[in-house]
């Protein structure tokens, strides 16, 4: 699974770095868009320029994009040390679960049984699909 020179703990650390930075990026981006409000309504009221201005003046969005970029480079680093068949599906599927937990804790979203089950199904499905 992992190349001989990469230990199991190092592999877990690299995948954890991708998952944590990706989750932080997704949650910050979602929080930014929640604070901006419904973009369709803003566009109807203030036009496309108004919608773009509302998005690009949100500091949370830039924090989110920063973490998403960090996640991208963490994935590149992980792919440099681990096989694609391990790093890509593991990080993609684990991120779905951590996002559900973070969404409940930080965004106070109603993650009911339906969402937990679907996140679990998609998580296993992504793993199978990418493996």
């Amino acid at each position: 699974m992992t190349p001989a020179h990469t230990g199991a703990w190092a592999a877990a650390g690299m995948i954890a770095a991708v998952v944590v930075t990706s989750t932080a990026g997704e949650v910050l981006t979602a929080a930014a868009m929640k604070s901006v409000g419904d973009l369709d309504e803003i566009r109807a009221r203030s036009g496309m320029k108004g919608a773009i201005r509302a998005v690009v003046t949100s500091p949370l969005l830039f924090a989110g994009v920063f973490f998403l970029a960090l996640s991208f480079f963490s994935l590149l680093f992980a792919l440099n040390h681990l096989s694609l068949s391990l790093a890509a599906p593991a990080s993609a599927s684990l991120t779905l679960i951590t996002n559900a937990i973070a969404g409940k804790i930080f965004l106070h979203e109603n993650v009911d049984r339906r969402r937990w089950i679907s996140a679990g199904l998609v998580c296993v499905g992504v793993y199978f699909l990418a493996h």
């Binding site: 779905l96 965004l107 979203e109 109603n110 199904l121 992504v126 199978f128």
Partner: protein
């Protein structure tokens, strides 16, 4: 006002999110593999790569994906958008099977079925968590009516 179930237009945005990222990545992959190996000693060749048709198309698709993703997050929960848009993975796998004639193993078919069931399950539920109106939002609504 909260949209508990997405409108047809909002389903279309979710579809763009689902398709934009995998199709954009596919275009980038196709474009990058058709180029000669890029060395870090010649970073300007990466700039030239942007103007090749496949990579240009990939960048346009990824910009469209991010704009659609931000729009979806402005009216739906993160825990709704992420599973709902995972269907793009299925589209790409089916695309590989029927257009590129790649073989799909039983694990991949199992993944396709699981994702399809998961997406169908989450999209039948509410897209946004209902929150009790706060004093601030009441004031905003009143100001909006006054204008």
């Amino acid at each position: 006002m909260a949209h508990i179930r997405p409108t047809p237009r909002q389903y279309m945005i979710l579809g763009l999110v689902a398709l934009g990222a995998p199709l954009g990545d596919t275009c980038l992959s196709r474009g990058m593999t058709s180029l000669p190996p890029i060395s870090l000693t010649h970073p300007m060749s990466l700039i030239d790569a942007i103007f090749t048709p496949w990579i240009g198309a990939g960048i346009v698709l990824l910009i469209g994906f991010f704009a659609s993703y931000l729009t979806a997050l402005s009216w739906a929960d993160l825990t709704y958008v992420l599973p709902a848009t995972a269907f793009g993975n299925v589209i790409v796998a089916l695309f590989a099977r029927f257009w590129l004639h790649e073989t799909i193993s039983w694990q991949r078919w199992a993944g396709i079925v699981l994702i399809t069931v998961g997406v169908g399950f989450v999209t039948q539920g509410p897209s946004l968590t209902e929150r009790p109106p706060t004093e601030a939002s009441d004031q905003e609504i009143a100001e909006g009516r006054a204008q």
